[in-house]
């Protein structure tokens, strides 16, 4: 199935030298290996545009290599890594470092996202043009917002001149100050400081208006609040180049799904109310939300095993994205399989212009093969990630990734399926 062309048929794909040579019926290349995908869905390689790889600086939690393995195990062939490393990716040097490490150790394609401001401190602009030359595909201070509107304005103008989208982690830090979970009846009940949805909304509103002022392409990271979804839809209706992404946990889990004080449910933006989940789901259906991105955020066990308020924000997401999306959106009849593929392929590609996300002769042979029926259980202790912070441990899913092909090479297959590995 290929959303870009609308292809939805049973056919063969021929791969040669890392590219797709042909798509058609009964293709034959003498001497070629074969991958039998009968009964499975063959799609363009999935793109996760929001991943934290933690390298450089936090290699104890994840590395470019281990993160890429987790990505492959989740069916992703391309990932975009956020710059909140140590040092922050705010220069061509760090961008080049990441690219080099990825070239040598990553088993999927890695596209770095550069910081908006120096050290993501929100004051001076980072070396956006130089980073673009070094290979970034967008700018973001993810993990933090850019609190100063004037700085954000200048960043948007700069990004626009270099043809880069601006991805904002929308959060007004004054409103969210000290908060550990969504502000609502659960936070009051648990005695935890709340993060009001308004802290996201005011920032989304501000950034949309600044995007209109500057003409920049603006993308809302991990959208979670119903007012934010509303505003993005409105901005699109007015013809503004505003896009957004949602994580699987933001359409799957509400704040009352959290076992008391379980830090595997703690992230920013926090899990919100059933109403917000409904709005995110509706936004996915209507197109206000362009992409599903996991915000895969590994943290060492010791960090997540503390008093709730001390635990860092973030959960894993790469390996469960397909399972959760199939479960909550496709099997429940809310979206079609083709729409799901859009959210993982042409959706993110349109935001970032990666030239990926389609099955066509001449395109890189990045292919995601998954199934929609087979039951499997996620065991986080066997995750390819170095970290273990997932709320989906021991969950059984119906359908999941089966094989991942990057640049023509099979880099991962699901265990126990007796699949032959072909590397051609």
């Amino acid at each position: 199935m290929d959303p870009a062309s609308g292809l939805d048929a049973v056919c063969d794909i021929a791969i040669e030298d890392g590219s797709i040579a042909a798509i058609g019926q009964n293709l034959a290349i003498p001497g070629a290996g074969e991958f039998d995908a009968t009964g499975l869905i063959v799609a363009p390689g999935f793109i996760d545009m929001h991943v934290h790889l933690r390298e450089p600086g936090f290699e104890y939690a994840e590395t470019i290599e281990s993160g890429s393995r987790a990505a492959a195990a989740g069916g992703f062939t391309s990932i975009c890594c956020m710059p909140n490393t140590s040092p922050v990716n705010d220069s061509a040097t760090v961008t080049s470092y990441i690219k080099e490490r990825a070239e040598r150790h990553a088993i999927v394609n890695v596209f770095p996202i550069g910081a908006i401001t120096k050290n993501s401190a929100g004051e001076e602009l980072a070396a956006i043009g130089l980073m673009k030359e070094a290979g970034i595909v967008a700018i973001s201070d993810d993990g933090r917002p850019v609190m100063n509107a004037r700085v954000m304005r200048r960043a948007m103008e700069t990004a626009r001149s270099f043809g880069l989208p601006v991805i904002d982690h929308c959060e007004d830090l004054h409103l969210s100050a000290g908060g550990d979970m969504n502000e609502g009846i659960q936070s009051v009940r648990l005695g935890l400081r709340g993060i009001p949805a308004a802290s996201e909304d005011v920032m989304v509103a501000r950034d949309i208006l600044l995007a209109e002022l500057t003409g920049a392409r603006f993308h809302v990271a991990h959208i979670s609040s119903r007012h934010s979804v509303e505003m993005v839809a409105l901005a699109k209706a007015r013809g503004l180049p505003v896009t957004s992404e949602a994580t699987p946990h933001h359409f799957a889990l509400a704040d009352d799904a959290m076992p008391p004080y379980d830090s595997n449910y703690k992230m920013k933006p926090p899990l919100r109310s059933a109403c917000d989940i409904g709005a995110v789901t509706a936004g996915i259906i209507s197109g206000a939300i362009d992409a599903i991105a996991t915000d895969h955020a590994p943290h060492a066990g010791s960090e997540k095993m503390q008093e709730f308020e001390k635990c860092p924000f973030g959960i894993l997401g790469l390996e469960t994205a397909i399972g959760v999306t199939l479960d909550r959106l496709v099997h429940s009849g809310k979206i079609t399989l083709m729409r799901m593929l859009e959210l993982f392929t042409i959706g993110p590609n349109r935001v970032l212009n990666l030239n990926r996300g389609r099955l066509a002769a001449g395109s890189p042979a990045d292919i995601t093969i998954f199934d929609t029926e087979r039951a499997w259980t996620y065991d986080v202790n066997r995750s390819a990630s170095k970290s273990r912070n997932s709320p989906f441990h021991s969950q059984t899913f119906r359908g999941g990734p089966v094989a991942t092909i990057v640049n023509g090479k099979v880099v991962w297959t699901a265990e126990g399926l007796g699949l032959a590995s072909a590397s051609q």
Partner: protein, 303 residues
């Protein structure tokens, strides 16, 4: 009580009534200076990560009056100040096999966290962040029942910084389970509307007069005006609108009682005249604290 006491919310009326009845028996013991042998040979560790003289001493005395050994560990005097993580502190203690751990911590959910790792040891929550303070609610209920035949239908006003009060939450749950009418009162920024949904019988007001009118019980909470991440509140403004003064008492029922979990801030949330008046049962609360904690320890550790 199965394994410990983390909060009032999960308890049912029977469990609570059992403790309150036992506490009544233990009241006599307080001035009789009797000591029992019930928990002889048991070791109870009081693990206090937050400063507290009142509660800690109360638990210590309760343990000793039952014949148990009690050890108190306060955070500043322990290796926590050397950077030891909570998990390691807990594991270290667990390895010494105490019979129960009484824990007070500044983080909501800390005893739940503790209970996840020390599955063999009963944990008694002596106050976790802004979440619950179950023994306080139990001793408050015991104090009210010393002067009223039932909690059913009583009008209880809880006044102060409700948003940050674990005492308020535990009291709300307990009083609601017994059919009391609870009126929560405080400044708008300290009274989130969601409080009304925590349990049946709860209403909210910003007007002190409305809260106190016809009240059987007035529960004043200690207020902390400066808080991290919050816009500070003026002390004069607070006392003017939410401080309990003698003239308020004519609005309440003639036999209304005034309670406070302590320590009191005279002139901030309660005037000296009221704190020292006949209606104030603040010191009875302290007395009952020991009796109630004896009942709790007995029910968790007794045979």
């Amino acid at each position: 009580m199965p394994s410990g006491l983390l909060g009032i919310e999960p308890l049912d009326r029977v469990e609570i009534e059992t403790i309150l009845d036992r506490a009544k028996n233990f009241q006599a013991q307080q001035s009789a200076r009797r000591k029992s042998d019930q928990l002889r040979g048991r070791m109870i560790v009081n693990l206090f990560f937050e400063a507290s003289t009142r509660t800690r001493t109360s638990f210590e005395i309760a343990a000793k009056r039952l014949g148990a050994d009690a050890i108190s560990i306060t955070a500043t005097g322990s290796s926590v100040s050397k950077g030891e993580s909570l998990v390691d502190t807990l594991n270290t203690l667990g390895a010494m096999h105490p019979d129960a751990i009484v824990m007070r911590h500044a983080a909501s959910g800390a005893p739940h966290f503790l209970a996840r790792y020390l599955v063999e040891t009963p944990i008694i929550n002596a106050g976790d962040g802004t979440h619950e303070h179950p023994t306080q609610a139990l001793l408050d209920a015991r104090t009210i029942l010393d002067r009223r035949s039932t909690l059913e239908g009583l009008r209880v006003a809880i006044i102060g910084d409700i948003a940050h009060s674990r005492v308020a939450r535990s009291n709300m749950y307990l009083l609601s389970k017994f059919g009391a009418q609870i009126v929560l009162c405080g400044p708008a920024s300290l009274l989130p509307p969601e409080l009304a949904q925590l349990a049946p019988g709860i209403s909210l007001t910003h007007k002190m007069e409305d809260a106190i009118r016809d009240a059987d019980v007035i529960m004043m909470l200690r207020v902390q005006l400066e808080r991290q991440h919050e816009a500070a509140f003026s002390a004069n403004e607070y006392f003017q609108f939410y401080g309990l003064r003698l003239e308020h008492m004519s609005l309440a029922k003639p036999d209304a009682i005034v309670m406070h979990p302590g320590p009191i801030n005279r002139g901030r949330e309660i005037s000296s005249e009221v704190a020292d008046s006949q209606r104030s049962v603040i010191l009875n609360q302290v007395e009952n604290g020991i009796a109630v904690r004896m009942a709790v320890l007995e029910s968790i550790l007794g045979n």
